[in-house]
Amino acid sequence: MQAEKKASAKDMTALKASWIYQKMQEIRQFENAVHEIFEKGEIPGFVHLYAGEEAVAVGVCAHLTDKDSITSTHRGHGHCIAKGCDIDGMMAEIFGRSTGLCKGKGGSMHIADVSKGMLGANGIVGAGLPLAIGAGLTAKVKKTDDVAVCFFGDGASNHGTFHEAVNMAAIWKLPVLFVCENNGFGEASTFDYAAATDRISEYAKAYKIVGETVDGRDLPSVYEAAGNAVARARRGEGPTILECLTYRDYGHFEGDTQTYKDKDVQDRALNEDDAILRFQNYAKSNRLLGEDEIKTIDALVKAEIDHAIKFAEESPFPDASQVTTDVYVSY
């Protein structure tokens, strides 16, 4: 097998950087908007915000097409946006409207768009890991070069499905990328408490697959590592565990008092360690994006989000008949 050229963040084009920045902004502004609307009491149910972790979803999905699949978590808005889900449809879904991506039946924790390869946010921690194996298996059986990416949390890494899924991906050499979003917490419990290991990527050794830990607030690091892992997967070289160290800017869910958070760490995350700020700086110093372009994108995204909110608010709730439709394809 001939040595493959390694991907490098240096190869990022201005076009790609612009896409990346827009997606990061979309996630951030989407989440900030949901946060505010939730506080006003206009959004029902449980909502888990992705703000702060944008570099992970976007840095990974930058390497994927609609034919590639991702599985997600309860904290799924970021994955949806990065994978190309319609933002109006997402917002309407969170509002429980008939125009939502799932007709309002799923809500925040179950946004999905299979046509975009987004196999659903998931309310069950650890559930996405085996699901990613299935998408990888489809690629293998159908002999495509599609890959499946599994986003999961540090908390989920302690669930049995992590072990079962990684082992299966390894023995079958499936085109699967396990992306751990290690934000240091599973709800209120710390990763340090709940996991014996220091690094989730450490497990890779025992499974004889590639494991790597990167700074998950640094877009270029995620982008580069994910690029290499996705390329390996497409070449049939099997799975990778990619651990991204990150932080969630909001609480575990909306309404969380966050007593377990360290103020200093939170401050740093919201300021100098902010993923978007860091990518702005990177893109500017590497002449990928200019200040003007950034402002344009910021404004464009603001308009998108405003539109989404309006769209959602003006959309009707589902019709009564919808309670019992879509249970089966046929029954």
């Binding site: 429980g96 924790m109 309310g123 069950i124 709800e187 710390t190 589902p318 309670v323």
Partner: protein, 344 residues
């Protein structure tokens, strides 16, 4: 002496009383202490569960007996089973009953069967606390009411408290019972206030409570649906029908006698259950009563349940999904003939 207390506080109170009474009682589950091992965080700041129900318990009893677990339901539930078999009385929290998919084996094949498979020589005094119920727009994976699955399984006891006072007495009974028990906490009831006896008391399993007496109709409500039944009973009373409302309190064991005696008197039964309709607690009670009180029935037994669908997220859909006083009254009108209501 009684004091006014919420459903949530009644749980907290019961757990503390149990832990004070017997040092073998431990509390284990995800974030039941809450905020484990963060240096700057004192125990008093800890979450105490996702709804704060167990808040403060770690302060009183320490991390040795209030144990936060990794997100590993099979792991900690299995641990709780054998901790029970080896001398402790664990209270194990399964955060949402919807998560039973990760640890059904530990409950169904281990906890429920040890006593029988081992010829009566092992016992498993385990209490599982878990959250059920729709009404919070928590969508299909966080709103189920899965007590039927557990009622199906021999070896388990199934408790569905509908108010703070019952919750406290039934939970304390569960902890000191020598069999595995699962207690359902309806998430929409946590804020419900009620008069609760102070100090330690237990309510035995298998004893239904007649919440309201009547002679024209019996309604059995499961868990929170007792409240829906009471509302319907109020409305029916205005139309001149006296309803007997029964809260079975435990589904396994089930107090068949109280229900059957009531039906013998009223001749009519409606079961109100927000769970899925097939192979459910509603069909269970209907089948038993339909068999044993056959000669006394003046009308078919009606079940007012969720439809055969997952729980929808969208608030108006979820509302339609749930049992309601109107649906109960509709069912009754079918039993007695519509015109009663059109003339009312």
């Amino acid at each position: 002496m009684t004091i006014k207390m919420s459903y949530s506080d009644a749980i907290n109170d019961a757990i503390r009383l149990a832990m004070r009474k017997d040092e073998n009682v431990i509390l284990i589950g995800e974030d039941v202490a809450g905020g484990a091992e963060v240096d700057h965080l004192q125990d008093q700041g800890a979450w105490g569960g996702v709804f704060g129900v167990t808040k403060g318990i770690v302060e009183e009893f320490g991390r040795g007996r209030v144990i936060d677990t990794p997100i590993a339901e099979a792991g900690y539930m299995g641990a709780a089973v054998s901790a029970a078999a080896t001398g402790l009385r664990p209270i194990s929290e399964l955060m949402f009953n919807d998560f039973i998919g990760s640890c059904l084996d530990e409950v169904m094949n281990q906890a429920a069967k040890f006593h029988y498979m081992f010829g009566g020589k092992a016992k498993v005094p385990l209490t599982i606390r878990t959250i059920d119920g729709a009404g919070f727009n928590a969508a299909a994976q966080h709103s189920q009411s899965l007590y039927a699955l557990f009622t199906h399984i021999p070896g388990l006891k199934v408790v569905v408290p509908s108010n703070p006072s019952d919750m406290k007495g039934l939970l304390l009974n569960a902890v000191f019972d020598d069999d595995p028990v699962i207690v359902f906490e309806d998430k929409t009831l946590y804020g419900m206030k009620g008069e609760v006896e102070e100090g330690f008391y237990t309510i035995p399993f298998g004893k239904a409570e007649i919440k309201r007496a009547g002679s024209d109709l019996t309604i059995v409500g499961i868990g929170k649906q007792v409240l829906t039944a009471l509302k319907a009973a109020d409305q029916l009373a205005k139309k001149g029908f006296e309803t007997e409302v029964i809260d079975p309190r435990t589904l396994s064991p089930l107090d068949e006698e109280t229900i059957i005696n009531s039906v013998k008197k009223t001749g009519r039964l409606i079961i109100v259950d927000e769970a899925y309709p097939r192979c459910s607690a509603a069909t269970d009670i209907a089948a038993i009563v339909g068999d044993k009180a056959f000669d006394y029935l003046d009308a078919p037994i009606k079940r007012v349940t969720a439809p055969h669908s997952p729980v929808p997220f969208s608030p108006p859909l979820e509302k339609l999904y749930m049992p309601s006083p109107e649906k109960i009254i509709n069912a009754f009108s079918l039993m007695v003939g519509d015109k009663v209501f059109t003339t009312a």
